[in-house]
Symmetry: C2
Subunit: 144 residues, 2 copies
DNA sequence: TCACGGAATCGGATAATACTGTTCCGTAGT
DNA sequence: ACTACGGAACAGTATTATCCGATTCCGTGA
């Protein structure tokens, strides 16, 4: 008998967007002390692992064009959170790195994210979380 | 050590945002004929079921403040896609409805979304999709 | 050397988002 | 009935996000 759907299940994409809005807003609220916008938080969170990244790579990770990042990175640089270096081997590329203050901010962001995620995801169990990631991956992949 | 995670599992929130960006962009690209922005598409998609909604309700569904919607709705109204009526029983509220052209656009949006979702989700199986929704719901709930 | 293409930025345009204040309306208290 | 309070939406304003086209600088191959 067709799918044994328990409920009519709202559109996955709409639910996805709502969840993103909600979590983003929540993050910005909890991290209000840092005085950063959502995009800046997002950029720093993606840089938190310490690996340098080019603007293009960062844009691909976040989902925006390099053009969009220029302004965000300008502000982060002006605040002393990031540095713009040259990539060894290709001087066309700009290597984004964290300054000490940027690292502090990024660590705070990651910790806030981790705490939030653990709190929410722990009660659901690893299988569901794994399925969640799998679906996200599929949606992202198929959007290219 | 620590969790026997198969892979380091990137942050769920970062993956969530990337997926949202990617799918939104994909939608806007596929629906370029409609000449609508992401927010407009989002609003129409949420109205597609034909139930009228107040601005506040719509904002809650999308994840933005009513203030933000005013401009979006202005444009949709100017294009003849929506109407602003009064809510029976409370004349403070504005009831957003679809015009025929708005319904056409909304239907096209829903169909594009449905097709995309089916294509991506069908291969994953209903359990994973259900888990996906459950995690989304938990993340959204906990963000209040 | 020179033409081509990639990476990032700049200039300029539009949209998204939200804060504050205002208007209109509903409700409760007197 | 009158008034006070609060909710809903909008107007005004400011900041940010996003991107397109053009430009600059650089790497690569002919």
């Amino acid at each position: 008998m067709k799918t044994g759907s328990v409920s009519p299940e709202e559109s996955a994409l709409l639910a996805l967007q709502r969840a993103t809005h909600a979590t983003l807003h929540r993050l910005a609220t909890e991290l209000v002390d840092l005085d950063l916008t959502s995009s800046e938080i997002n950029a720093l969170a993606n840089l938190a692992d310490g690996r340098g990244r080019t603007v293009s790579d960062l844009g691909a990770a976040i989902g925006t064009k390099p053009t969009t990042l220029t302004g965000v990175l300008d502000r982060l640089e002006r605040r002393g959170h990031i540095t713009r270096g040259t990539l060894a081997g290709d001087r066309r590329s700009v290597l984004i790195g964290l300054t000490p203050s940027g690292r502090t901010a990024a660590d705070a962001i990651r910790q806030t994210i981790d705490t939030f995620e653990r709190r929410v995801l722990a009660s659901l169990g690893p299988e569901k979380v794994a399925a969640f990631h799998e679906v996200l991956r599929a949606l992202t992949e198929e959007s290219r």
